[in-house]
């Protein structure tokens, strides 16, 4: 059997391994964004998380996607990026 040559049908995007950011040494005083994707009861999870993170000294800011059915609007992503050091995104189902 001779070797067959074919065309790559993919987007040819095999990305270089994305490195994880280092774990923050502390969350005290850090700006933490909590993103609610608008799924039912996601807020319940985030409320509790806000309470726990606040007890540990984090500064919390809440954000919300208009709908879980679409990617977050560009403007929202930029706002979160500008205003936060860390992000927690809540999925719920």
């Amino acid at each position: 059997m001779s070797s067959l040559e074919v065309l790559d049908p993919t987007g040819e995007r095999q990305p270089a391994d994305r490195q994880r950011l280092p774990r923050p040494a502390t969350i005290e005083g850090r700006r933490v964004a909590l993103l609610d994707i608008s799924k039912a009861r996601g807020n319940v999870f985030l409320d509790r998380l806000e309470q726990l993170l606040t007890e540990r000294g984090a500064r919390i800011e809440r954000f919300r996607k208009p709908t879980f059915a679409r990617p977050a609007p560009r403007a929202l992503l930029e706002e979160i990026t500008a205003r936060s050091d860390l992000v927690v995104e809540a999925l719920a189902d």
């Binding site: 059997m1 001779s2 070797s3 067959l4 040559e5 074919v6 065309l7 790559d8 049908p9 993919t10 987007g11 040819e12 995007r13 208009p66 709908t67 879980f68 059915a69 679409r70 990617p71 189902d93």
Partner: protein
């Protein structure tokens, strides 16, 4: 890149062609008289007595687009200014300026097919001499690797076997469109990768398409990648749906699509592979994979590919694309984020008043009896049911009006808790009259086999009322 041809007369011949053998003495006589170059396709010693150039690799024949032998070209300053095929004495005398020619030969004899267009060989020549216009990365399978297993191993398949996209096959597929291989068709979600015609062709090969299906696949991809259709959301949702493609207009018949028996089932190559090709583009180019960005809880079998044609020829109604503002002679593909069919069985109704109530009762529960306005539906109506509406002169508008009347209820009748079910409309809508379907959210398509008192409901993912998908129709250009 056309090879430079010498000025003067240029002939293409092969020994395997009786007409070429017949005119061989004519060529031998001409070679001493006028500037003549002869390319021979199969035997360098043919024609006898002629100093022929060996074109057994067929590069010159391929690049000149020779289809018949003998072909005689008249070349001035590298350009072909006149040509003929086969043997016709008067034509040969005019083109060569030499007469009489071929004394003793019959007046006329047709030529034979050029070796460069033989089936199978033609694609190999295209890959060898035109492969440079393909930009995709080349992947070489291992010599001992099974080609089908190799495609699975690279993650290119939806679970069914795929056809390996060799350069020959992709070039053959590209012949199905006039668009350039490098043209970007769409940004394909979820990775928003610019997808070229060539990449679509490679995935159409994987899916098993014929070249004439490619324009439908390209158009479907354009429609899927609109903001309105929201392919990203459709891919990512936990809901059942995938893109459902409905093809209208002359192209459906031209490429042999099924609009009749078993129309939503398996077994017709065009229906099965066009829908699959779109899904493979989303998977392979866009990076959208089950258990990756695709988070469907259950999914539906139509996510392998869901494509069919409307049965326009004997429909009681104007076809879907005409209803949407296109002309009957235009060809379109309509994308609908849905799944199905869910059955409507009514074998006893003989009046539209009765049958429409059966439609209403079945649609009422889609996707839940206490929900309304958030989901669209297409009712696929086969001839046996359509006839009842036809005989009574019911238009699509009339059917929609009746269904709207039958399915509009006070909000409290679909409220949370209604029927002891917690799912339902919010109490804020309790006193409002709520139609089941939004305006423009209910469609009828005529399709299916001749026998059977059934219709089928294709219900949608959430429509734009819920941030989901709007149906999109795009004209197909070849």
């Amino acid at each position: 890149m056309a090879a430079e041809l010498p000025d003067g007369l240029v002939a293409f011949v092969k020994r395997d062609c009786p007409t070429c053998v017949m005119v061989a003495p004519v060529l031998a006589a001409l070679q001493g008289t006028v500037p003549l170059t002869v390319f021979t396709q199969d035997d360098p010693s043919f024609p006898p007595g002629v100093d022929a150039i060996d074109d057994t690799e067929l590069e010159v024949s391929y690049r000149q687009g020779i289809e018949i032998v003998p072909t005689l070209l008249k070349v001035e300053n590298g350009e072909v200014v006149d040509q003929l095929q086969g043997w016709l004495r008067g034509q040969w005398e005019n083109l060569t300026g030499v007469a009489p020619l071929g004394v003793g030969l019959p007046e006329h004899r047709a030529g034979c097919g050029s070796r460069s267009i033989e089936p199978g060989l033609a694609e190999r020549l295209a890959a060898r001499y035109d492969g440079g216009r393909l930009a995709s990365r080349r992947v070489t399978f291992g010599a001992e690797e099974d080609e089908f297993e190799a495609a699975y191993a690279r993650g290119w398949s939806d679970g069914l076997p795929v056809v390996p996209p060799t350069p020959e096959r992709v070039l053959r597929m590209l012949a199905g469109t006039s668009r350039a291989p490098s043209e970007v068709v769409a940004l394909v979600p979820p990775d928003l990768v610019p997808c070229t015609v060539e990449k679509v062709a490679a995935n159409a090969v994987l899916a098993g398409c014929r070249p004439e299906y490619l324009p439908v696949v390209l158009t479907a991809l354009e429609g899927a990648c609109t903001d309105e259709f929201n392919m990203h959301g459709l891919l990512a949702t936990t809901y059942f749906s995938g893109p459902v493609l409905i093809v209208n207009g002359p192209i459906a018949r031209e490429i042999g699509m099924n609009s009749g028996v078993n129309v939503l089932g398996q077994g017709n190559r065009a229906n099965s592979t066009i829908g699959r090709a779109l899904q493979l583009v989303v998977r392979n180019v866009g990076g959208g994979r089950p258990d990756g960005v695709d988070r469907a809880t259950l999914g539906s079998p139509g996510k392998l590919g869901f494509c069919f044609a409307e049965r326009e020829v004997d429909s009681p109604w104007e076809p879907l694309h005409v209803e949407l503002g296109y002309r009957a002679e235009q060809s379109t593909v309509t994308l609908f984020a849905g799944q199905g069919p869910a059955p409507i069985v009514d074998q006893l109704s003989r009046t539209p008043e009765s049958l429409i109530r059966s439609f209403a009762a079945c649609l009422d529960a889609t996707p839940h009896p206490n929900l309304a306005l958030g989901f669209d539906a297409i009712v696929v109506v086969p001839p046996d049911h359509a006839r009842i509406f036809r005989d009574a002169g019911w238009s699509k508008a009339r059917m929609r009006e009746e269904l709207n009347r039958l399915l509009t209820r006070r909000g409290r009748e679909r409220a949370r808790g209604r029927g002891d079910m917690d799912e339902g409309l919010p109490d804020s809508l309790a006193e409002a009259d709520i139609p089941k379907f939004r305006e423009g959210g209910l469609y009828f398509v005529h399709a299916g086999g001749n026998a059977g008192m059934f219709s089928g409901i294709l219900s949608s993912w959430v429509n734009p009322n819920g941030g989901g998908s709007n149906p999109v129709t795009v004209e197909i250009r070849k």
